[in-house]
């Protein structure tokens, strides 16, 4: 029974496809970073791997990076891996938080590329919208 249940679960997962759970754009659905979005990047000096949100989000195991060059989802998680951000929110700043250290990093909605400082680089567990 256990094996059959597992098989069903795997079959559903395969039919749905892993990328669905790791969609890189939770904003307007487009690869470019557009108005209203908080655009996260895996590397401090490259926009190749991204994930974009229109709201606050806890990353957990739900989001992986999207490769905008080869157009596929990577296996590595956004959680504890963000190194840069562009905040194109219309009304709010974005604040990144690391639960383990308690550190936070707040980024204004100025449309500029911002590298994460060392205390939050590759450590953020989530982001919330603040100073709206």
């Amino acid at each position: 029974m256990r094996a059959r249940t597992l098989a069903v679960a795997v079959a559903i997962l395969v039919s749905v496809g892993v990328p669905a759970s790791a969609n890189h754009d939770k904003g307007d659905g487009y690869e470019s970073c557009n108005a209203g979005e908080v655009c996260l990047y895996d590397l401090p000096s490259s926009s190749r791997w991204t994930n974009q949100f229109a709201w606050g989000a806890v990353y957990g195991t739900d989001y992986t990076w999207y490769d905008t060059v080869d157009n596929h989802y990577e296996s590595w998680l956004v959680a504890n891996d963000m190194s840069a951000v562009v905040n194109k929110q219309a009304r709010c700043d974005v604040q990144f938080r690391d639960w383990s250290t308690g550190n936070t990093w707040t980024v204004g909605n100025d449309y500029f590329w911002r590298e994460a400082p060392s205390y939050i680089n590759q450590r953020a567990d989530l982001h919330v919208l603040v100073n709206c």
């Binding site: 939770k26 690869e31 709201w55 806890v58 957990g60 739900d62 919330v128 919208l129 100073n131």
Partner: protein, 313 residues
């Protein structure tokens, strides 16, 4: 530009629940609304003396003018999405939160484990646009709204919020670096090791454990509905709802969290941390007293210029 990959949220959630059942993970028992920060540990901090209510009053006044200005220019979407209190300013969330160290009660440990949603304010809908006129209106309406509050209003509020952010990071860094907290941390780890949960080396001094810090598998945050990106067209402005999410802790994680709650209770961890936090925060406020006094004077002038309804709070 690339279209969105179709999302099968409910089907995926069903698959994940099935996988969870056969993987030794407990049934999901997380309510839609997880507890938000609040309580004695948070309320008693010296950082709460910062003029948060005045900043909230100013930001609410700015938001009202800005969002009305946007509507007058043909973009009423912001009027449809009210900003929740916890998103108005980050100033009210500095220092310790109720869940800074994980679940507080055994009941919370059983239900949530170390859910990263503990202390995470529920997200609110976003407004996304593929429209240059929208972006121009955002800039102009923001400027108009701040200028109506008073000269240098935005600078004053943002300076205070930046100072709050700096105070927060200075505080958590000083807390983790202090001998007193490191002793509390050692006692916490010893208690957990005695209960069968030895911490792995190399994690440093942490506040809330994360996956990998113990030889215990942690759970997953999963989307159980919503959150689908709309098919945007050029010139469109849309309100998009965030997905509904759940955290599914593992049984081992729950056992660890339960022992952690007991260990912290036995060692009077919360009271000792609160006392230590009070000293550190008072020292930091004293260090920045000149800046805070200057900003407070500017803030008082701005609030005095608000209308009766705007000045409440």
């Amino acid at each position: 530009m690339r279209g969105r990959v179709p999302f099968g949220g409910s089907l995926l959630a069903a698959a994940l629940f099935l996988a969870a059942c056969v993987g030794g993970v407990v049934e999901p028992d997380v309510p839609e609304e997880v507890p938000n920060p609040g309580g004695d540990l948070e309320a008693s901090q010296p950082f709460r003396s910062l003029p948060t209510a005045q900043v909230v009053a100013i930001r609410r006044a700015v938001a009202e003018v800005r969002d009305r200005c946007m509507a007058d220019r043909g973009f009423p979407q912001f009027l449809e999405v009210e900003i929740p209190d916890e998103a108005i300013t980050a100033l009210d969330d500095i220092g310790l939160g109720t869940y800074t160290f994980g679940p507080v009660t055994e009941e919370e440990a059983r239900r949530f484990g170390y859910s990263p949603l503990l202390g995470f304010p529920p997200p609110f809908p976003g407004v996304v646009a593929d429209d240059e006129a929208f972006e121009l209106a955002v800039d102009e309406c923001r400027e108009e709204a701040w200028s109506k509050i008073g000269p240098a209003a935005e600078d004053t509020v943002r300076s205070l919020e930046r100072l709050g952010s700096a105070l927060h990071n200075a505080f958590v860094d000083a807390l983790r670096a202090s001998d007193a907290f490191q002793e509390l941390h050692r006692r916490r780890l010893s208690c957990l090791a005695a209960a069968g949960f030895p911490a792995r080396d190399g994690a440093g001094v942490w506040l809330r454990p994360e996956p990998g810090m113990f030889p215990v598998e942690f759970g997953d945050v999963i989307e159980v509905g919503g959150g689908e990106s709309p098919p945007m067209e050029p010139g469109q402005v849309l309100v998009v709802d965030p997905p509904e999410v759940r955290y599914i802790p593992t049984q081992d994680e729950i056992e660890l969290a339960l022992e952690d709650v007991r260990c912290r209770a036995e060692s009077d961890f919360a009271a000792e941390v609160a006392a230590l936090a009070a000293v550190i925060q008072r020292d930091l406020l004293a260090e920045f007293e000149a800046n805070l006094t200057e900003l407070q004077i500017a803030l008082d002038e701005l609030v005095a210029g608000l209308g009766p309804a705007e000045g409440r709070g």
